[in-house]
Symmetry: C2
Subunit: 160 residues, 2 copies
DNA sequence: GTATGACCTCAAGTACACTTGAGGTCAAAT
DNA sequence: ATTTGACCTCAAGTGTACTTGAGGTCATAC
């Protein structure tokens, strides 16, 4: 029978920790990337007597969220922020994930709004062939109408 | 009076080309980055008798789109694709920008959909504290239900 | 005519997000 | 006992997207 030190493509009970190979197969993330995420503190592992990593199952969720963030162009430093209040060592509670959830949703909302704004821009401006982008908030993200000092300026009429 | 070789913070008629410094001030993009974009073929310039760059005004649009793409995590190679049919040398026509527009919109739509899906996931899964992400298309983007071979696998019930 | 600021090229350096390789250990199977 | 595959550490390499610096030119101002 398969013992509890079963490595590689093991058969597991629902509470068994995962080897790095299993994590990799189940998340599609390379072992080297998992090592890397660990050095950044994005994930954590325990070690066996023989110094091999074992991952608690809730690490799958973290890795999945990291993967998704990458697909959306969110830098790992932002992921770090989003995970700030989610405990690494212990299985996170409802409340932990809900705090993280709120952070993620705020971040995602900003990005979605940016994209929607650009889509409107493209419809209204490139779409009509002028691409003036006179009113594009994305070009002046920090202060849409404020300081005329440094940083991106709106295109003037003559540039439209 | 200001001649047509006016460099620096010049006063321009609407058809005057822009110096790299003016481009930089008006787009918020560093001159070094403009050089870099030029080596990638994302933008182009003519040269004065003294070998200085002069940018046609429609280059402002390109730089603005590059800036926006960066904010959205779109790699420059994708921007290159999106610009594929927009002429560099001449002022693009309506039709040129409309072709580009359609490419951009397709790309943006994919990204927006990805984000919306993740938002739904977070509402349904992190939101309730379980974060099972069983049905998240973002985790299996290429083939949502297909091959069970390599790549990300769905989390099983036991991991929910 | 010379000083000043904007510009030029080219090479090297930086930050992020990893991958690859060398050299060695661990653990189940034969 | 030894082979095999999975794992370990650490250093160095890769690709993207630039920035920085050296050394020199260009153009307007005094």
């Amino acid at each position: 029978m398969s013992s509890d030190t079963d490595a590689g493509r093991a058969v597991h009970g629902p509470d068994e920790p995962l080897t790095i190979g299993e994590m990799s197969r189940r998340t599609g993330v390379a072992p080297s990337a998992l090592h890397f995420y660990e050095t950044l503190g994005l994930i954590a592992s325990t070690r066996t007597a023989g110094n091999q990593r074992r991952y608690a199952r809730h690490m799958l969720r973290r890795v999945s969220l990291i993967t998704v963030a990458k697909r959306l162009g969110i830098p790992l430093s932002d992921v770090q922020d989003a995970f700030a209040d989610v405990p690494l060592a212990d299985t996170p509670s409802h409340a932990d994930w809900q705090r993280a959830s709120r952070r993620w949703k705020r971040e995602l909302e900003k990005r979605r709004e940016g994209i929607e704004r650009l889509e409107r821009e493209l419809t209204g401006c490139i779409g009509c062939g002028c691409l003036s982008m006179k009113a594009c908030g994305l070009l002046n993200p920090d202060d849409a109408l404020g300081s005329q000092g440094a940083g991106p300026q709106r295109l003037r009429d003559e540039d439209a």
